[in-house]
């Protein structure tokens, strides 16, 4: 039975034990959490990452700009379009290429579909399986497959789209895509009401998540967290509104922000973001301009530095590219949401019960492959 107030600070006594929530654990990727445990309380935690470190940034210097796209979208495979877009925005800035309006709208629609897919995966595994709720695992994966089918029709691949080379999207919308997508969005909107009944308003989930892992607004700003974690703590900051890219400057949407800062607020932020994504896709489909979708981009990039940012489902992805007048980048630096939110893990999991740890970990939506690159 979890209470809403945190227990008082205990100093380390001789009764502490070091437990390793090892690299193999169900659901999440490979990350090791070294916990120092005193009875039922976790005194402190030390994350040990790097089990999926594949050296993406070093490899990126050995491949040319277009070949880099499949490499750099693999770190977060369930949200691949945003990594792709974040990599391509600075390249286009360096090369001086602008994407035509229709291309921007198509990229926006694909990105918002990907946001829904990523939040459904989060709901199934990080929020569902970690709290022991396997019904939502089956429901969310079933609905996610419907979106994946449409994405496969649009781009040709289920998860790894490689859809946005420099200059614009690879393919136009197929004939009949708008009708199928609208039908799916109507169905999904009704499903979200059922998700709310089964999971988000479930008294067991509410009891486990409300008041757990509170991150106050000043701490969220000081720690530099990003994404839904930041918005659940009361800071209304979203790169789609602050520095609009794609078609977001023409579209009208809200940014869900809550003030509680606990794990339940982080759950609800993502539910509201899914509703806003449905809204954005509907507007983009109705306002879609005509014309060409892409422009030809050169194969080399001139010298210079460029930084591009997008808002993915886990937070802000910022990519810095340094070009050196050749067809391979000199340096690619990726700063993504999971790595920036990692600082919140040892900060929030202090003096909590052991059973609260999966809830806090799941609400931060830490994806180890993305953080390790």
């Amino acid at each position: 039975m979890t209470t809403t107030t945190q227990p008082p600070l205990k100093e380390t006594s001789q009764s502490t034990m070091d437990v390793s929530v090892g690299p193999q654990h169900p659901g999440s990727g490979h990350v090791r959490l070294l916990m120092r445990v005193d009875g039922d309380y976790i005194v402190s935690i030390d994350p040990d990452i790097g089990y999926v470190h594949r050296g993406c940034e070093k490899i990126a210097e050995y491949r040319n700009y277009v070949s880099n796209i499949p490499h750099l979208e693999r770190p977060c495979i369930i949200d691949a379009i945003h990594l792709n877009w974040a990599y391509v925005l600075p390249v286009e800035k360096l090369q001086g290429v602008t994407v035509p309006p229709r291309g921007k709208y198509i990229a926006t629609i694909a990105a918002e579909m990907n946001r829904i897919m990523s939040h459904l995966y989060w709901l199934a595994i990080n929020a569902g399986v970690f709290s022991g709720h396997t019904t939502i695992f089956m429901w969310a994966f079933g609905d996610r497959d419907l979106f994946i089918e449409l994405a496969e029709w649009l781009t040709g691949a289920r998860l790894t789209y490689s859809f946005l080379p420099p200059g614009g999207p690879r393919r136009d919308l197929p004939f009949g895509f708008e009708q199928k997508l609208t039908k799916l969005l109507d169905y999904f909107e009704k499903r979200l009401i059922e998700y709310d009944r089964v999971f988000f308003s479930n008294p067991l989930v509410v009891a486990r998540a409300k008041g757990i892992g509170v991150l106050k607004k000043e701490d969220a700003i000081k720690l530099g967290v990003t994404g839904p974690v930041l918005r659940a703590s009361g800071v209304e900051y979203d790169v789609r509104k602050v520095e609009p890219y794609g078609a977001y400057s023409d579209l009208d949407f809200r940014i869900p922000t809550f003030n509680a800062g606990d794990s339940y607020a982080r759950f609800i932020v993502r539910l509201e973001e899914m509703k806003q994504s449905i809204n954005i896709i509907r507007q983009a489909l109705s306002k879609m301009p005509k014309g060409s979708i892409a422009r030809k981009a050169p194969l080399v990039a001139p010298e210079g530095e460029a930084i591009g940012r997008v808002e993915s489902s886990r937070g802000e992805i910022t990519v810095m590219i340094i070009g050196d007048n050749s067809d391979k980048p000199y340096r690619v630096k990726i700063m993504n949401g999971s790595f920036r939110n990692l600082i919140a893990l040892p900060y929030l999991i202090r003096n909590v019960h052991i059973a609260d740890m999966p809830i806090i970990y799941g609400s931060l939506d830490y994806w180890p492959v993305e953080a390790d690159r």
Binding site: G50, K93, K222, A306, I307
Partner: protein
């Protein structure tokens, strides 16, 4: 492509130059909303705490290292941004420090921006930059017993890289 550079980027540069005239080596506006300031690395703490308290850049996005072997330097870039100040919310300020390539070291800013904790550990491991004053500087991402060189340096060529 015309770039509209507003007065806000100029404000950032002018205020910094007037506060620390002797520590700033070079300033540059790369494009709209992107400002780069190169500074003297011995005075990182003063500049960083003034940036946070007076200018309002309250969080760190990341720390990047760039290796220039021909110019015998490693650059350490600090990307900072602001959540709370509305007129600077979309600006990314890059603070650049140029370190000697043989033994790069700079003081740590974890006391000013807490999020630098993991970023500095990664830069230490990938480039060999020593951050003095970091509470827990050890390897983060590579193998437990990696005794090899820092992987991201340009002259470290792993034999299998780039072969098809």
């Amino acid at each position: 492509m015309t770039q509209t550079i507003s007065a806000r980027e100029e404000t950032v540069i002018n205020k910094t130059k007037s506060q620390f005239p002797q520590y700033i080596k070079e300033t540059r506006i790369d494009s709209e909303r992107r400002v780069t300031i190169t500074f003297d690395e011995d005075h990182l703490q003063e500049i960083a705490s003034w940036m946070r308290d007076d200018l309002g850049f309250d969080h760190l996005i990341g720390i990047a290292g760039v290796d220039y072997p021909t110019q015998k330097k490693i650059e350490c870039l600090y990307l900072v941004a602001s959540f709370s100040k509305p007129e600077f919310q979309d600006i990314i300020l890059t603070l650049k420090a140029e370190l000697a390539r043989d033994n790069p070291s700079i003081s740590s800013i974890t006391s000013i921006w807490q999020s630098a904790h993991f970023h500095e550990r990664e830069a230490f491991e990938m480039f060999g930059i020593k951050f003095e004053g970091h509470p827990d500087l050890r390897k983060l991402l590579t193998l437990d017993n990696w005794e090899g060189p820092p992987p991201m340096l340009k002259d470290i060529k792993f034999p299998e890289m780039g072969q098809r």
